[in-house]
Structures are given as structure tokens and as C-alpha cells.
């Protein structure tokens, strides 16, 4: 899975740009599977990507089009998928989103994620250990009814509290 050292991220979006380019030859946030959430009023930039959560919410696909691969990555079957959007609704953090009728989610670039290579601040890392699963249960309930962008903002805001506290402690005592 892709892990984050939040304090290092400057929000440049190089991960996003490279993700989109290497997956489609085109560049744009909508085509990226990792998206940098900018919470500008508190100075936070949060690259958000599939956390391969232990609940595997998106695999509850009614068409059974979503499976987990050997690296722990999400695999969407293009033949089974009907673009119904259930996976997008189920994901509590907005890490899977339909774009042009295709659910876009991190596929770990087959084990060599391009976003990691693109980051020059060493803010994101790839860890191969597929057993180190993260639980997103605490984010699930309140994410109901929110769009992917709102879910991402909510997740980033909550996840950055610790860093914010450390800044305040370091600079304001």
C-alpha cells in the first residue's frame, strides 16, 4: 500500500500528474487515482489514495466486478462493470471514483507506483506488506451521502489533526 509522510508534502500534485499520464497518456486530476486534497485554510496538502482497507468496502460490488489482487490492489473488471457507481458510494474516503464511466482506483502500477517516483520530497512511500491493513470503519458512517470530493476533504481534515497539533506545539508552545 501507499503510505504518507504528511509533514513533508508540499501539495505540488506531481503524484497526481504522473499517475494520470502513465495510466492514460493524458494529464488531469480527474484521470488520476491519487488526488491531492488541499485544505488551504489550515495549510494541509493530503495526497489521498486507496488504503486497501481491511473492510474492502468497494468489493461489495453488485456485479462482482471488483477483486483484490496479489499486491492488495483493487482490480476492476471492465467486462463485468456496469458503471453503476456503487463502489464510489461505498468507499468512505473517496479513493475510488467514476470518470468517463470507468471506476478509477489505485492499481499500484503493478508494484512500481509512478507517484512514488514522481515525489521529490519523499512524502509518499510504497510498502509491499499486504497484511498491514488499515481500518476505515470510523470514517464510514459519516461518509454516507457525501460525494467523493467531500469524502476526501473530510478524511484529510481529520487525518491532519495530529500534524496541526504538532505545528502549534512547536511554534506556539
Amino acid at each position: 500500500m501507499i503510505t504518507l509522510d504528511l509533514a513533508r508534502c508540499s501539495g505540488c500534485s506531481r503524484c497526481e500528474v504522473n499517475c494520470s499520464f502513465f495510466h492514460s497518456g493524458k494529464i488531469g486530476r480527474s484521470g488520476a487515482r491519487i488526488k491531492v486534497v488541499k485544505v488551504e485554510d489550515i495549510g494541509i496538502d493530503y495526497p489521498l489514495v486507496c488504503q486497501q482497507c481491511s473492510e474492502c468496502y468497494c468489493t461489495r460490488c453488485p456485479e462482482k466486478a471488483i477483486q483484490i489482487g496479489s499486491l492488495g490492489q483493487i482490480i476492476v473488471s471492465p467486462t463485468l462493470c456496469t458503471a453503476c457507481g456503487t463502489c464510489e458510494i461505498l468507499c468512505p474516503i473517496g479513493a475510488i471514483e467514476l470518470y468517463e464511466e470507468i471506476p478509477l482506483v489505485c492499481d499500484l502500477c503493478g508494484g512500481d507506483p509512478r507517484c512514488i517516483m514522481a515525489c521529490t520530497l519523499d512524502a509518499i512511500h510504497y510498502e509491499c506488506d499486504v497484511t498491514a491493513a488499515v481500518s476505515l470503519r470510523e470514517f464510514k458512517k459519516a461518509s454516507r451521502g457525501l460525494g467523493p470530493e467531500e469524502k476526501r476533504l473530510r478524511y484529510a481534515t481529520i487525518r491532519s489533526r495530529e500534524l496541526r497539533d504538532s505545528w502549534a506545539a512547536g511554534r506556539r508552545g
Partner: protein, 603 residues
């Protein structure tokens, strides 16, 4: 299909709400490239020359370049142009952040606005849906609140907003437009232009994706540039300090504006330097779209938190006005960013008032009882509030230093440091001669960014010999060959602007040359941008800018510097005894540019 470019030009008449999307014409773009070149050519062709900048006839243009929002590092900028409210000549201003890339992803190369909204409004662009929306609830709000409210109203945190604050609404002549809260389009009063059109903001959301013509070739060129940036000798320093590294650097060569350019040495520089800022207040790096330099900084002080400041703001609110309290400077940076007020121009009005009081030309009574002793923080804070609200004496200050000095007279005009009405930047030209020439001839007035001849500071004598056959060009104190350097870097700077790329990388780090740019453009767009074609386009744009400025009333007599820089030598430091022989340099520059003795371009 057209690669690289967004593919559309959007025209909006704010008075009637009429909007029109037209296809970008590749043949036209070959001559203007994009960004600033595209904007100013459009002004040259369509702007009614005698219009008052604040009337609906004035145009407001937002332009991006063919490769903005793509893989290329630092290709984040967008340029806003129009007839400038404070100077009455060509006005434009660029800012980084994420707005430019988003506009491009929405499918646009340029947005042209004319007219005036009946009531406060904002323009919302979501791909091909264009809407002029009510902004009554936003009027009066500061920039940060406005950005947050628009995102909340649209229920989309990824919307990029370029907004004005109360300063723009109240038509302060040097009001700014901000994107991403802290990325300011400052200097030429584009915020005032927004305000005059009752336009609170432009919000944009692009869900499209961009293509480049030759993906692999383009990728390799981008990697080449990435590598050059990462291995540049200044990388570490620029990464940790950004442009604030100049505080110590300029003081070292004796040209750090102190007490309003009375000295080039600041004895408390260590208290207000970029190093101190990084050590005491910085919490992390910030960055523009797709940049690998990450030179901006986020900071927390006891009272405020914000992004920035860049060198010009830091210097304007510390040494230039005699303030040795860094924390106060940082507080003002956050305040100015919220309110949308330009830091250089507001700083210059303050410095001017302080010097006039020091010299006994003006007194407390002239300024509503405000005490303009050097570095008086209470006065500064109070005055800024009055400028933004145009209250009392603030109403005069809101017009800019040139008009302020005209109002008061009594010899105070000698201390109003502007060129063509635009206040001078921080960087005393007496110790950097090519910069001095740049301030004098810059087509938007007293700034360095039209040419940024940073080369003269690098002491690369052999490189100067190789490029121009003159070693002196690499000597900042020499006048020799500086016109040739400026003629060259002016094209390079325009190229960086047309590519809406960051000047720190394109120019100061000297990483962008015409050949590389032409390869990038060709790989990105598939159009035939040969080095010759690019150069021809750049020369054409510089000539058109000049012709337009001549129509606006600019003459050769205005291509000069304030008296202090041409007649009063610096008293101490590494640039002691220097002045700028501006008359001679300007003449040489006209010749190098191929203009006649009056600075008129020859066809």
C-alpha cells in the same frame, strides 16, 4: 486535434451576460505562443486606447500557455492583463498556484472579459458550462473567506478560485487578485480592475484531460528539465528558503533597501532574514502545480498562519520601512493576502511617508495624526486598514505613491520611487546595473520581472564571454554590455511568461533557453515552433507592447529611474559609490532592440 492547448477562447460580456466559446486558432497562436504574449496581443488588437481603466470598456484577460497543467515542472502560472488602473499603461500580473492548470483542464487558453456586472457577481467556469453567479453574499468578505465560501456553495473543494478582497472592492489602485489564498497577482492593480467590473471572483473546475503531441519526446524533455532543477547548485537553498534567501544575499552585496533606499546595508538583517523565518516560523514547504522546487513555505506565528512571504513582501515590510520585527512582517503578509492589497506598492507608500517625515517635508498633521517614524508598527497596521476602507488619509494612499506625492507636493515627489507610476521593487539598482536598466524600460513600469537579468549576479565570467563575448556582463557593477544582457533576458523573460512558467526556474536558475523551449513547444503542441519562429514571436510581442504603451502616452523621457538611483551614490557596503548611468544604458538598449533614439519600434 490541437494538442497542448486547451482548445478554446472564452469571451464574456459581463454587462449582458453574453458568453461565447471559440476555437483556438493554431496559426494565430504560433505568433503569440500563449500567456502574456497572447493577452497583450489581444489588448493591442482590441482595446480602445483612450478608455479609462476603471470603465466597462477596459478588458480583463486571463491567459495560460500551451503547456500549462502538463508534465512540465513549474508550468503553473497564469497571467491576468488589462489596462492598469494605477499606471494607465499596459498592466499584467502573473501568479502560480493551481488556477492556471485547472483553467487549462477546463479547456481554455484565454478568458476575455469586458463590461461590468450589474451587481456583485462571480464567474463560474465548469468545463463548457459558464455561469455568472450572484456574489452579493461574498461582497465584503476577505479572500480566504471568499474562496472557502465559493467552494462550499459549489460543494466542491477542488474548485480553483481567483478572488479579490475588500481592497479590490473599494478600488484601491494596487489591489491584488489571489488564487489558492496566497498566490497573488499583484503590482498592476488587477484586483482593482476586478472590483471595477463588480467581479468578486473567477471560479473554475476542469474535468478534462490534456494531451501532448509527442508523449515520449515530451516526457524526456520534462525529465531533462527536472534533472537540471534537482542538480542545480542552488537547489537546496531555494528549496528551503525560496526567494527569501535574497534578504541575506542582497545585504551581502550592499543593495538591500533599508529605510526606503537610504542605505543598502541593514544592520538587523539577521533578525528578519529568510533563514530566521525558516528556523523560527516555517512548518513546511508549499508548492505550485507540478513543481519540484517546492520553494514556498507555510508558517505559523503566535498570531497568524499563512503561506509565504516572498522576498519582495518580506523586504517591503521589514528593512524597507525600518521594521526589525519579523513576526510583525509575517502578520502583515497574512493580512495583505486576506485583504488583497499589494505589498510592494503599499510598502512604498509607507516608506515614502516615513522618509518625508524624517526630512521634515511633511508632518503628523498632514497624515491624520499618524506617527510615521521608521518601523512604527501601530501606524502601519492602522494605515493599511484605512487604505483598504479608503478612510481619511487612506483614501489618498489608496491611489499609489505617484498620485500621493503629487497631492502633497513640497518636494515629496523626489522620494516617490516609481517608474511610469508603478512602485519600485526591492533591490537597489545602484549595485545591479542591468536590473536598473530593466526597471527603467519595463513595459509595465518599475519592476524586475520583465527581464530579470539575474545573470549579472552569478559571476560566471567565462559563460558571459562564451555567450556574448563580453566578460563584463557577469560583473554586476559594470555598465558594459548590460543593454545586450537585458535585450536577451527580456526575450527570455517573455518566453517564460508566454510559457507561464516560473521565473525562479526559467530565469534566475537560468534553465530555459530558446532552443529547449522550442523543442518543448514542438513536442507539446505539434506545431512548428522552431527557435527562429519563437524568437520572431517574442520580438513581435515586445514591439507591440511598446507601441501600445506609446499609444497610452509613454515617451522616452519616462524610461528612467528616480533621481536617488542616478545621482546619490550608495554610502557603504559592497556597492559603495555606485549610481546607475541610466540615460546611456537606455540609449544602448534602444539600439540593441532595434528601436529609434526615441524608443519607437521600427517596422
Amino acid at each position: 486535434m490541437l494538442c497542448g492547448y486547451g482548445g478554446h477562447i472564452l469571451r464574456v460580456d459581463l454587462t449582458s451576460g453574453w458568453t461565447h466559446r471559440e476555437k483556438t486558432d493554431p496559426a494565430y497562436m504560433l505568433n503569440v505562443i500563449g500567456g502574456r504574449g497572447l493577452n497583450s496581443t489581444r489588448l493591442y488588437e482590441e482595446l480602445q486606447r483612450d478608455c479609462d481603466p476603471l470603465t466597462p470598456e477596459n478588458m480583463l484577460l486571463i491567459g495560460v500557455w500551451p503547456l500549462t497543467g502538463t508534465l512540465l515542472s513549474a508550468s503553473a502560472f497564469m497571467t491576468i492583463s488589462g489596462k492598469s488602473p494605477p499606471t494607465g499603461i499596459l498592466g499584467d500580473s502573473a501568479a502560480g498556484g493551481f488556477f492556471g492548470a485547472e483553467l487549462k483542464q477546463a479547456g481554455y487558453d484565454q478568458v476575455l472579459m469586458t463590461g461590468r456586472c450589474q451587481k456583485p457577481s462571480y464567474l463560474y467556469i465548469a468545463d463548457d458550462c459558464i455561469e455568472i453567479r450572484d456574489a452579493s453574499h461574498l461582497w465584503g468578505k476577505d479572500i480566504w473567506q471568499t474562496t472557502a465560501t465559493i467552494r462550499k456553495d459549489l460543494n466542491d473543494n477542488a474548485v480553483q478560485v481567483a478572488a479579490i478582497g475588500p481592497a479590490g472592492e473599494n478600488l484601491v489602485k494596487y489591489a491584488t487578485v489571489a488564487c489558492n489564498n496566497s498566490r497573488m497577482c499583484g503590482r498592476t492593480g488587477m484586483g482593482c480592475l476586478f472590483g471595477s467590473k463588480h467581479l468578486k471572483a473567477v471560479a473554475v473546475r476542469g474535468r478534462g484531460r490534456l494531451t501532448v503531441a509527442d508523449s515520449l519526446g515530451y516526457l524526456n524533455l520534462c525529465r531533462e528539465l527536472d534533472h537540471k532543477i534537482m542538480t542545480h547548485p542552488e537547489y537546496e537553498k531555494r528549496n528551503s528558503l525560496g526567494s527569501t534567501l535574497l534578504m541575506t544575499a542582497l545585504n551581502g552585496i550592499g543593495i538591500l533597501p533599508t529605510d526606503h533606499f537610504q542605505q543598502g546595508l541593514c544592520d538587523y538583517v539577521d533578525r528578519v532574514s529568510g533563514e530566521t523565518l525558516a528556523e523560527k516560523f516555517k512548518v513546511k514547504n508549499k508548492s505550485c502545480f507540478n513543481c519540484n522546487l517546492h520553494c514556498s513555505r507555510y508558517y505559523l506565528t503566535g498570531e497568524v498562519e499563512a503561506e509565504g512571504p516572498e522576498f519582495e513582501t518580506l523586504c517591503s515590510y521589514t528593512s524597507r520601512i525600518g521594521n526589525n520585527n519579523l513576526e510583525f512582517g509575517l502578520k502583515m503578509n497574512a493580512f495583505l493576502n486576506r485583504m488583497g492589497l499589494d505589498s510592494l506598492s503599499s510598502g512604498e507608500t509607507i516608506g515614502w511617508a516615513m522618509e518625508c517625515v524624517q526630512r521634515g517635508l511633511l508632518t503628523k498633521d498632514d497624515f491624520d495624526g499618524l506617527d510615521f517614524t521608521w518601523g512604527n508598527c501601530q501606524t502601519i497596521e492602522k494605515l493599511l486598514g484605512m487604505i483598504i476602507r479608503r478612510e481619511g488619509i487612506g483614501d489618498l494612499f489608496a491611489e499609489g505613491t505617484r498620485s500621493l506625492a503629487r497631492h502633497f507636493g513640497k518636494g515629496s515627489a523626489e522620494y516617490a520611487f516609481h517608474v511610469k507610476g508603478l512602485d519600485m521593487i526591492c533591490g537597489d539598482p545602484r549595485g545591479i546595473k542591468a536590473f536598473g536598466l530593466t526597471y527603467a524600460i519595463a513595459s509595465r513600469g518599475g519592476g524586475h520581472l520583465r527581464a530579470e537579468p539575474f545573470f549579472e549576479l552569478t559571476e560566471r565570467y567565462d559563460e558571459a564571454e562564451r555567450r556574448w563575448g563580453m566578460r563584463d556582463i557577469a560583473d554586476r557593477l559594470s555598465d558594459n554590455g548590460k543593454a545586450i544582457l537585458v535585450e536577451h533576458t527580456e526575450r527570455q523573460a517573455l518566453l517564460t511568461d508566454c510559457l507561464t512558467m516560473c521565473k525562479n526556474i526559467g530565469l534566475s536558475m537560468d534553465l530555459l533557453d530558446f532552443d529547449f523551449a522550442s523543442r518543448l513547444l514542438t513536442a507539446g503542441t505539434g506545431l512548428k515552433f522552431t527557435p527562429e519562429k519563437v524568437n520572431e514571436a517574442l520580438k513581435g510581442i515586445i514591439d507591440r507592447d511598446r507601441k501600445m504603451n506609446i499609444d497610452f502616452g509613454v515617451t522616452a523621457a519616462q524610461d528612467t529611474l528616480p533621481r536617488r538611483f542616478t545621482h546619490e551614490p550608495l554610502k557603504e557596503g559592497a556597492s559603495k559609490g555606485q549610481v546607475v548611468p541610466v540615460g546611456r544604458l537606455v540609449k544602448e538598449y534602444y539600439k540593441a532592440r532595434g528601436w529609434d533614439a526615441q524608443g519607437v519600434p521600427q517596422d
